[in-house]
Symmetry: C2
Subunit: 285 residues, 2 copies
């Protein structure tokens, strides 16, 4: 496994591999890897000749009052885990390597960056799409892999790829959960014991929504209300949003039609930790 900090060096290496006609896969991460990330790496490795993982805590996608400085980092452990998964190349640039001294270029997927997560994190997705496009241009993979946990992020990246004609396939893999159902997230480390218990209200809220849906409830508003009411019973939980959107358009749903797929999306603050989770609602579940 080769580790690179420099854009020009990983590029040179990748150019050589491209000449040898290798299929290149790419998993962009912010490090502090968990089983969710590793499931993406395994998939990438299995479906390509060369698996590239980037670790970059991207300052541009954090708001001024967000957790950039305290975001958990453990490069040594990350590298051990990636080594175990037979990852081929790891790219760990500095902020200076990525943005230099007069950075000016920003990519925005307008409409979809302003709703849901975007309402609570107004500059977040612009930071994400900008860094992802940079990483795509550096790595030039055949496909890139993202987790469904950040469903809106995956949707926005697919939309950027379509709109900008980026010749890269985007694959989205299922959420990986802890034994009790909590969606894996690098931010779970922020939770104290009581918060960790109450954090389960996101997953239990999802289960409640799935139960209502499977029992025949098709009124999105009713499902959302019940989930909100359930989560509100937890004294450490503050809901940012619970919404149901059409999976293919991210438009808010009112009635859930047969044959269509929907995302139930949740963002809940547990104490000072903001968690997101989601599930796909469809009639085949």
């Amino acid at each position: 496994m080769k580790v690179f900090n420099s854009i020009s060096e990983i590029r040179e290496n990748l150019n050589q591999l491209r000449k040898e006609d290798k299929t290149i896969s790419f998993v962009p991460t912010m490090g502090y890897l968990h089983e969710g990330h590793l499931s993406l790496v395994r998939y990438a490795k299995k479906n390509s000749d060369v698996c590239v993982v980037s670790i970059f805590v991207n300052p541009m996608q954090f708001g001024p009052n967000e957790d950039f400085n305290k975001y958990p980092r453990d490069e040594k452990r990350d590298l051990q885990l990636l080594q175990q998964e037979n990852c081929d190349l790891v790219f760990i640039p500095s902020a200076n390597e990525m943005y230099g001294s007069d950075y000016q270029t920003f990519v925005k997927v307008k409409k979809y960056s302003e709703i849901l997560e975007g309402e609570f994190r107004p500059t977040h997705f612009e930071g994400v799409t900008t860094v992802v496009l940079k990483l795509f241009n550096i790595v030039q993979p055949h496909f890139a892999v993202f987790g469904q946990k950040d469903a809106q992020q995956a949707f926005i990246i697919q939309k950027m790829v379509d709109d900008l004609n980026i010749p890269i396939r985007i694959d989205v893999l299922p959420i990986v959960r802890e034994a009790d159902g909590l969606a894996m997230s690098s931010r779970n480390v922020y939770l104290n014991e009581e918060e960790r218990k109450q954090a389960l209200c996101l997953f239990k809220g999802i289960q409640l929504a799935e139960k209502l849906f499977n029992e025949g409830e098709r009124d999105a508003h009713k499902i959302i209300s019940e989930v909100k009411q359930f989560i509100s019973q937890h004294d450490l939980a503050k809901i940012d949003y619970v919404e149901i959107v059409d999976k293919s358009s991210f438009e808010k749903a009112t009635f859930l039609f047969e044959g269509k797929e929907y995302y139930l999306l949740l963002a809940v603050r547990i104490g000072n930790t903001r968690l997101i989770d989601n599930t796909i609602l469809n009639l085949k579940k």
Copy 2:
């Protein structure tokens, strides 16, 4: 020479050429080709195996009160000219092929898109960088060629390429002028006989600036004042701006230092036609 209207078809063709290890050059244009464009095509052709030219009057880079609808178009003549230059592939997409029905992704080189041309055309450069990035992703050339006539555009595209790590070289070629010195432009066709005469004030203003500079004037403000005064003597001319900027940073210059290069940039409306022109000021001229 092959002509394509479809993204997928030109892509397929180019992928085949890439497999054969051909060097690919790219000249993006809005058509209505003149000797300025053709000089770029000749350079591209000479320095690559496969020369791709696009013709697309990009609605996104025109403001609501600008000349998108009346912008001159002559596809048949353009194709004849490109054929004569032994251009290999021509890409002529429709607006629908480029932007579909729910286009949302925009690329902006912030600081540099708001000054000079950007002050008078506030959404212009966002439209330019967005379409150029799309075209770059479709064609994936080794290098792309732009004209110095649109000096700020070329600067912004180079900045986008640097910031977004786009693996494409940008070459900028000198302005081509009519026999009397008027910079070639598709918009020159808008000028009536009297306007055509007065349009020469841009080039003559440039010559005046060069004369002052070569005689030792190093005060940017004095040069600008004299050029403005000269142009103002023409009753059909209305100045949008005359500025001198550092060629490497596009920052306004006050004193012209030895060993540095500067752009003198002009935008002047002659009747209803907005013309731009520029020259490089340096001590070797």
